[in-house]
């Protein structure tokens, strides 16, 4: 087993003044730009962890006597932004599929909210992510990741296609472009703030 310190030169510790931490999720389907987004806004080189989960694979493995369960490795990548002298914000790129639910529970607990990335070429794929967030009670905003060559639609059409609540913020981003990603995060957190502020 290698020494824990062998890579310590590259370890980006949080600033000494930081004593608190919060998390936001960057959720979305395969290939929608989660990793790119996290990399665009993170102050550290994005990190990656893997967890082995037991996923329920409905009907597939029944004959093999595996009780319909299989082991899968789920990767999540994350980054960090020190938002004040004492507070670190972590952003977790989160695969949205329902079959990753065991990991979702861990991620969603205590999360301030989520930014859901969608791809206009596969809008229907967003349904599952949105449903999971709603079930978990995680408040969210939606950002359309505008891929080159993908047709552009008015946001109102996308809102309708996704059947979003009128209050849910909807913006567009280029996940490679830091400024648009920061703007989308600001939109999300403004929404979270006002939502909480106006709660009776």
């Amino acid at each position: 087993m290698g020494s824990a310190l062998s890579r310590s030169e590259q370890v980006a510790y949080v600033a000494e003044t930081v004593t608190r931490s919060v998390k936001l999720l960057v959720a979305g389907n395969f290939g929608v730009g989660k990793t790119t987004f996290v990399g665009s806004v993170s102050e550290i080189k994005p990190l990656r962890t893997e967890e082995t989960i037991t996923e329920a694979s409905v009907g597939v493995d029944d004959l093999a006597g595996l009780d319909g369960k299989t082991q899968t490795t789920v990767a999540m990548d994350f980054g960090r932004i020190t938002v004040s002298a004492s507070l670190a914000l972590y952003l977790f790129g989160t695969p949205g599929q329902r079959r990753f639910l065991p990991m979702w529970d861990d991620l969603a607990k205590g999360a301030l909210g989520a930014l859901v990335l969608v791809d206009t070429r596969r809008l229907d794929h967003a349904d599952e992510v949105l449903a999971v967030l709603e079930e978990r009670g995680v408040p969210f905003a939606v950002a359309v990741n505008e891929f080159d060559g993908a047709a552009r639609y008015p946001l109102e059409e996308i809102r309708e296609a996704l059947d979003l609540d009128p209050a849910t913020p909807l913006t567009s981003v280029d996940a490679r472009d830091r400024a648009t990603c920061v703007a989308a995060l600001i939109t999300l957190v403004e929404f979270l703030f006002h939502r909480l502020e106006s709660r009776p």
Partner: protein, 122 residues
């Protein structure tokens, strides 16, 4: 060998952590961890700890705080295992959170995040 099939996740974590399958504390992926300033005077030192605990102490030992998720990433361990190891280290007085946890209301927290993000946007 007979009886109900065990959850392999739990078995693996159990083996890795010397008999623990659940963390004793409710740690989050973003819980910050540092080495305790005043570790107990006992014969348990990082040198005599189980390998994973030793590695966590080596990483957090002298340099500053990291979140549970960051520890997992740097040590290439599943976050579930890091939670168990860190819980044990905290129970034993070897690891700590960076400061006595002050509770800040969520609204102020969101405002703080918003300020920080707006500062990035300029």
């Amino acid at each position: 060998m007979s009886g109900p099939r065990r959850d392999p996740d739990l078995v693996r974590a159990y083996v890795r952590t010397g008999g623990r399958s659940r963390a004793t504390r409710d740690l989050d992926l973003v819980t910050l961890v540092v080495a305790a300033k005043n570790p107990p005077k006992s014969n348990v030192t990082p040198q005599t700890m189980p390998p994973d605990a030793r590695r966590v102490m080596g990483l957090c030992g002298r340099h500053g705080a990291l979140s549970v998720a960051e520890i997992a990433a740097y040590l290439d361990l599943p976050p579930s295992v890091v939670k168990i190891v860190v819980s044990d280290l905290m129970d034993g007085g070897h690891a700590d959170s960076p400061a006595p946890a002050e509770t800040v209301p969520e609204l102020s927290m969101l405002e703080e995040v918003l300020h920080g993000l707006r500062a990035l946007a300029v």
